[in-house]
């Protein structure tokens, strides 16, 4: 596991993603965790301007970017300051001494130079003047000082490629393409990349530092690519609309970390996707509702504060029984909170955050690649049940990338929508007896002219009704319709381990990787622990209660202050215990293992 860290301007995200591609090419399984500052471009040299990129790769499947890196690359004192505590003792620390000036040390908050005061003795330190060596390597090309200096990251990448025996070709090709219009920059960057690599080969590196080689992982055969959650969600929505045979209108208002869903979809106009950057979240969701009224699939994406603003309008879609997909890319709260950090704290809001009894379906994607399938599922449920569906992802899924086995599109089951068109006995709240979905009659259809809205409708005529008994019935129908979705869903089953035992660890969303790895570790130690990961938050899958009761104990780790755990306790009266981490970062595997073992011991006594 390796972590690149430097100033926002140092190009660490590019370095990291190049390294990722090269590693994937080498056949390793991997997971990444980009971590950038909240400021657009913070002043150079400050700790809050540090940008990081962590990659975990291994011969076995990798589920998370890993707890503590083995290698840390620190391009300046601030990057060291921010990250020195996460590097594993004995880990390899690569620092650019060229940036360790008095001024930079001060900005980073160092009183003395850590390279000299012994504080780094616990690591294997490789202190190199990367700046100087980079400038050397490009001086034959006629560049300004700024541009020359910018090649530092490629020099470093070259060194890392050597260390991990990675190929440089793909990065060289990428650089040529990127700097097509400024070939001198391409040349310089390639020169720096090669120089770094050569340095690794030739330099007498201190004892204990030498080329690693990680053998290729055993992955399912097929074509792979790296995918981030926001890419996969966007493509899944497009696939869902295609499977339904509908045009899609995506209404959104930019917000971190959901904005690039909008960006990704804006490029897909030729797929029948209309993106609408609205004046605010309320307009975004109501435009999507208008589009659904018009017969398209209306979709809206945002993050927690945006969902809060949309909640009144989502209630309208519940009452009017229109299809709608709401993607909530969760981030740290409450309020503006920690906009660039991840969290799973919108579950309550998703399930219950509306006025009145306003049930809808809630799904949660488990990995970046899973976002693709859950987005399709969200569209399916929305159109088949005429209901809003909330799809929960989070900042970690949205920006983290993982190698993804590309889906076989032909194997996806279409669910074509036929808008209603029969005037005979028509009223807008005619229901399908099985799904309880009402008919979807679309403006433009002769003979089906009708009016809908947020006032209560009569069950048998679709007209406004203030009748007390009818309201009771309609409240119940709305609830039953959502509960009935569970009939379509697979029964609950564990993702790893037996269907009974000492402990069931129940997770949801982006903790999939860490829980899965922790459970694997626990099981290899002989513990009778299983893992179940919920993708259907509401309604919950059938058989879940039984399954929970088949274990001596249930632990629910969440990146929030305990939300799913309350749902499970209320539904099944099972004494599920909560494990919370609200640090804006994924669970550390070691912490999970420790928490489980501690509990298992406790119950042994």
């Amino acid at each position: 596991m390796i972590r690149f860290a430097g100033d926002s301007g140092d190009g660490m995200q590019l370095t990291g993603s190049q390294f990722t591609t090269a590693t994937a090419d080498a056949g390793n399984d991997l997971a990444t965790f980009p971590d950038f500052p909240a400021e657009i471009r913070a002043p150079a040299g400050t700790t809050y301007g540090v940008s990081g990129y962590q990659i975990h790769f291994a011969a076995h499947d990798v589920m998370t970017p890993g707890d503590t890196p083995d290698v840390l690359v620190a391009m300046n004192p601030a990057a060291l300051k921010v990250n020195e505590d996460v590097l594993k003792p004995g880990g390899l620390l690569v620092v650019n001494t060229g940036a360790f000036t008095t001024n930079n040390l001060k900005k980073a908050g160092y009183e003395t130079n850590p390279l000299e005061d012994g504080t780094l003795d616990r690591f294997r330190v490789l202190a190199l003047d990367v700046t100087k060596m980079t400038l050397e390597s490009v001086k034959h090309i006629n560049l300004g000082a700024k541009d020359a200096n910018r090649c530092k990251n490629m020099w470093t990448l070259g060194l890392m490629y050597w260390l991990f025996a990675r190929e440089r070709d793909q990065t060289i090709a990428w650089l040529k393409k990127k700097f097509e219009k400024r070939p001198e920059l391409a040349e310089a960057n390639i020169a720096a990349l090669n120089a770094g690599h050569v340095y690794g080969e030739n330099a007498e590196l201190p004892h204990g530092i030498n080329a690693y080689e990680v053998p290729a992982a055993k992955l399912t055969p097929g074509v792979y690519r790296n995918v981030s959650g926001n890419e996969a969600t966007a493509w899944g929505l497009v696939a869902g609309a295609q499977l339904a045979g509908l045009e899609m209108v995506y209404g959104s208002y930019p917000i971190t970390p959901a904005s690039n869903l909008l960006h990704n979809l804006a490029r897909l106009k030729h797929f029948g996707v209309t993106t609408f950057q609205a004046e605010d979240e309320i307009a975004a969701v109501t435009a999507a509702i208008g589009a659904s009224f018009g017969g398209a699939i209306g979709v809206t994406g945002t993050s927690g504060p945006g969902v809060a603003l949309k909640s009144e309008a989502i209630g309208l879609a519940v009452a009017a029984e229109l299809p709608l997909v709401i993607v909530d890319v969760q981030r740290g709260g409450p309020s503006t909170g920690l906009p660039t950090k991840t969290e799973q704290s919108d579950l309550f809001q998703a399930v219950w955050g509306r006025n009145g009894d306003a049930p809808l379906a809630v799904l949660a994607a488990a990995t970046p690649g899973d976002c693709f399938y859950m987005a399709i599922e969200a569209v399916r449920i929305a159109v088949q049940y005429m209901t809003p569906v909330m799809l929960l992802t989070d900042g970690y899924l949205a920006n983290g990338a993982e190698p993804w086995l590309l889906p076989d599109l032909d194997s996806l089951q279409p669910f074509p929508v036929k808008h209603y068109d029969d005037p005979e006995g028509f009223h807008p709240f005619l229901r399908d007896e099985g799904t309880l979905a009402r008919v979807w009659a679309v403006p433009g259809t002769p003979g089906l002219e009708h009016r809908i809205g947020g006032l209560e409708k009569h069950r048998d005529t679709g007209h406004i009704s203030y009748d007390p008994h009818n309201h009771h019935l309609m409240t119940q129908v709305r609830q039953q319709k959502i509960a009935g979705i569970a009939r379509d869903l697979a029964r609950a089953k564990v993702d790893q381990g037996e269907d009974h035992g000492d402990m069931l660890v129940v997770g949801w969303g982006s903790t999939y990787g860490s829980i899965s790895q922790a459970v694997r570790l626990l099981r290899s130690k002989g513990h009778q622990v299983s893992h179940l990961h919920l993708r259907n938050i509401w309604p919950l899958p059938r058989g879940l209660g039984e399954l929970l009761r088949s274990f001596n104990s249930v632990l629910v780790p969440e990146l929030n202050n305990g939300q799913l755990v309350k749902l499970l306790r209320a539904e099944y009266l099972v004494d599920a215990e909560s494990l919370t981490r609200v640090t804006g970062q994924p669970f550390r595997i070691a912490a999970l293992v420790e928490a489980v073992e501690e509990r298992l011991q406790r119950s042994d006594k």
Partner: protein, 337 residues
């Protein structure tokens, strides 16, 4: 998306739904409803391709009474819902019905943005200077000093001028009429014919909570002296016998009402209405003695949904048939075997 229906000669009845109208007796909304139901057939509209979208308020009950498609949404959001509907199906003829509270209080921002984007819609704002449905609180158009349950000592809020808000937002069609005016039909017709967002303010009497606020303008007796019905290219004259008119004071750069024949004022001095002049429209939004009615401003301009369709077509041409398989394989992929 919408099928091309066989042309039919529709009548007012075809646009009248089977729902009982539930406004208070004497409410100005009745006259507006009748005008819309009367006008639509003459505009070649068909019930199945016409949609009325409203927010919440007495006025927003309107869609229930039209035998067209209709959506009674939530408070203030009708312009955004209508925008989304036009994005899904630009062929539909979409009308937005809103009130002074719905459209200028909670919904002010959506109104601003639908107007600046120039989405092809007709927006009818029923201005009764009061919140009718919630039983009579002052609204953003109520006059200062208005005593209501929420302003027992009189309102201290400065009112907005709806047509001015529309112009400020960049609206390209701004008109004004009143509930019982026979010219309301003309305003509706012009609005429908205009491509882009057409904003029509309709002064509407609420006999229950704000009776008679517009009497000076709408009354048969006092009205003619206070109604200036605008016509493009015609001198701006008013009064029972057209004896008065508007003149631009060149020194103060303000419009003033003058009487023909008095102080040497002749027909030549009367300013001619130019509905394409934004500055003139601005001056007409608030006059001292008289209310400008009819089309204050009309200007062709790029229409949002048209530009969008064009962009969509261009994208299709440029990027070819949508191919999800290829999309997923864009960028770097590798094979594990």
């Amino acid at each position: 998306m919408s099928p091309n229906p066989p042309k039919k000669d529709y009548t007012r009845q075809d646009f009248t739904s089977d729902q009982e109208v539930r406004w208070c007796p004497g409410c100005g909304d009745y006259a507006i409803l009748a005008a819309v139901q009367r006008t639509l057939p003459s505009l070649g509209a068909s019930p199945e391709n016409t949609v009325f979208i409203s927010g919440i308020g007495c006025s927003s009950r309107f869609p229930y009474y039209m035998n067209t498609y209709g959506f009674h949404t939530i408070h203030g959001r009708a312009p955004a819902v209508a925008t989304g509907l036009k994005l899904a199906n630009p062929e539909l003829d979409v009308w937005v019905i809103t009130g002074d509270g719905d459209g200028l209080s909670i919904g002010g921002n959506h109104l601003l943005h639908v107007l600046r984007r120039n989405v092809d819609l007709q927006i009818l704002l029923f201005n009764n200077q009061i919140y009718g449905l919630t039983k009579g609180q002052y609204s953003p158009t109520s006059q200062v000093g208005k005593v209501t349950p929420s302003s027992p000592l009189g309102s201290i809020d400065q009112p907005v001028i709806p047509t001015r808000v529309a112009l400020g937002a960049g609206a390209k069609f701004v008109a004004r009429a009143f509930d019982t005016s026979k010219q309301l039909t003309d305003a509706l017709t012009a609005a429908k014919q205009h491509k882009g967002a057409s904003f029509v303010e309709i002064l509407q009497n609420c006999p229950v909570f704000n009776d008679g606020v517009f009497d000076l303008i709408t009354d048969r007796k006092t009205g003619p002296a206070h109604q200036l019905w605008l016509e493009h290219g015609k001198p701006m004259r008013f009064g029972a016998n057209g004896e008065r008119g508007l003149r631009l004071s060149p020194t103060t750069l303000r419009l003033e009402a003058v009487t023909l024949g008095r102080d040497g004022v002749t027909e030549q001095d009367i300013l001619v209405h130019d509905e394409t002049n934004p500055a003139l429209a601005w001056m007409l939004t608030e006059l001292a003695d008289v209310v400008a009615l009819g089309v204050l401003y009309r200007q062709e301009g790029p229409v949002y949904n048209e530009d969008l369709s064009a962009q969509r077509e261009a994208a299709k041409k440029r990027f070819g048939k949508p191919d999800l398989h290829a999309l997923l394989r864009q960028g770097h992929t590798w094979t594990v075997s």
